[in-house]
Amino acid sequence: MSSVIILADFIGGKNTKTTAELATAAARIGDVVAVVLAPQGQGGAYAAAITQGPIHSIVVVESESFAAHGVGAAADVLAQIIVSKKPAAVLIASHAFGKEVAGRVAVKTNSGIITDAVDVSADISATQMVFGGSTTVHSKISHGTPIITVRPNSISADLKQVSPVIEALSFEVADGSKKSKITSSQAPVQGGRPELTEADIVVSGGRGTNGDFVAVEAFADSLGAAVGASRAATDAGWYPHSHQVGQTGKTVSPQLYVACGISGAIQHRAGMQTSKAIVVINKDPEAPIFEIADFGVIGDLFAVLPQATEGVLARKS
């Protein structure tokens, strides 16, 4: 059986659940080799953090360059592993870092690239939702080793327990891949809530919050959800820009998306309309977002949300 490489997804030194999702898709194609890029001396700990997903073996590379030179160093080493292992395909998480690594690897290995796949089949064809989720595209790579980035949270992960064989390899990072230097790094501030693009539930607030996100956050917390915001809310400075959902912000595809006080401009819908279920709370019955709601409430979010929060907490207790 051919092998398929996945780049194990570590953010802030922690293995994310995206690793098991990548492995689940990759296992349809061949034996999954997870590549772990770790700081010097931490390869064992990083590899040990991978306990779930259909992973056949792990390749660990330790280098100070990954933290010091970021994307360039990661792409340099991953490309060398691809040349030596000749996998049938390479799957990487579709976020800023993953896409940039994939892009540089595609150039280095003379390979075609597909980003933002929401599914990958055994024949290495990828499914993408393009134009804000309005069109489904199936495509294949026609040259080199298929390099595919997969959106977090779009593949339901096979979470079987595994203890893969671990192989430690060492590679030199070329000087040309060390041209940018990372002088300091700060992990994202999570505030105890799940990461927006990985969350099963997202509760978002828009113009209708008038800048008061307390009710939105309380409802999100009752559901264990991430908090998102429309561009109107982030432009007004009501919520951090990093939480913006939409065409120029994050694209989310949770099990449940709750839009509170968001009218649903096409740019916002582009970032959330592939959500499995959509709930809308808006005072304006004409708000376009109602068109895509599975459950819509015409009402004041400041009245509905606190009651709904109580209702959810009551059911959970």
Binding site: I113, V130, S134, S184, E291, A293, F295, I298
Partner: protein
């Protein structure tokens, strides 16, 4: 400093986008300068202005580089009317449907031929949304990749750039030497509106339109193949209730029935 800005003309975000024979229809649609590239244009102009400006005879020049059909001159003209000095448009029928690999190859060839200290891009185009072209250009040029910048500081004497990189993985402070490829995130600045004077003077600025032979590279337009493209069925609207005090309970029941809580 010689600063290059890479821009793209894209369908208007508001427009309905369609696939024709596996490619985005770029003909029967309103097109604009990619929103996110306006931040790149603005940042390039601010960097130039902070270090002696880019008027004729000044220490800096700002060149717009784009690849696209001839019609893309409209987007290029907008960047010129904001204040860039001149422009190069690579336009060739063989480049229709070019993927990120082909695009980055052509752009990198033009950039290295002319020679720049800084290349500034937006983080992504609003049509393809890949965000890989800036990284690919840096890879091809073998220069520093300073992408997803929410702040840029340039030291023209020391030939050094430092940025703050903001992504889902956190905040990084990064630096590199000239030449460097930078991509800037939305909100790094407030892009200026072209002034009347800017629009008038943009009409006199040179747009050098080149075909692929003039660039002197060979490219295959795409290494990926669209098998099929289907418009998704419109989501049917579901239950809609007007809150009379009981909607929250109905909502919680709905969530419970759907096993979402």
């Amino acid at each position: 400093m010689r600063i290059a800005i890479c821009i793209k003309q894209v369908p208007d975000s508001w427009a309905e986008k369609k696939m024709v024979n596996g490619l985005l229809d770029r003909v029967n649609v309103d097109v604009v300068l990619n929103d996110l590239d306006e931040y790149a244009v603005e940042e390039a102009l601010r960097i130039a202005e902070a270090h002696g400006g880019n008027d004729e005879g000044a220490a800096n020049s700002v060149t717009v580089i784009s690849m696209g059909p001839e019609r893309a001159t409209e987007a290029v003209r907008k960047a010129l009317s904001m204040g860039a000095n001149n422009a190069i448009l690579i336009s060739d029928a063989s480049l229709a449907g070019a993927d990120a690999l082909a695009t980055s190859k052509v752009l990198a060839s033009v950039i290295s031929k002319i020679g720049f200290d800084l290349v500034i891009c937006g983080t992504e185009s609003t049509d393809a949304r890949m965000s890989v072209v800036p990284a690919m250009i840096a890879e091809r040029l073998g220069c520093a990749q300073l992408t997803f910048a929410s702040a840029v500081k340039v030291d023209p004497v020391g030939q050094q750039v430092s940025i703050t990189r903001v992504t889902e993985a956190g905040v990084d402070e990064m630096s590199g030497q000239f030449p460097a490829v930078i991509s800037v995130v939305e909100k790094i600045n407030e892009p200026r509106y072209p002034s009347f004077k800017g629009i008038m003077s943009a009409k006199k600025k040179t747009i050098d339109v080149m075909d692929i032979a003039a660039v002197g590279v060979t490219v295959e337009s795409s290494w990926s193949l669209v098998l099929d493209a289907t418009p998704r069925p419109l989501r049917a609207a579901g239950i809609k209730v007007t809150d009379d005090g009981g909607a929250a309970n109905q909502l919680v029941t709905f969530l419970s029935e759907k096993k979402l809580i």
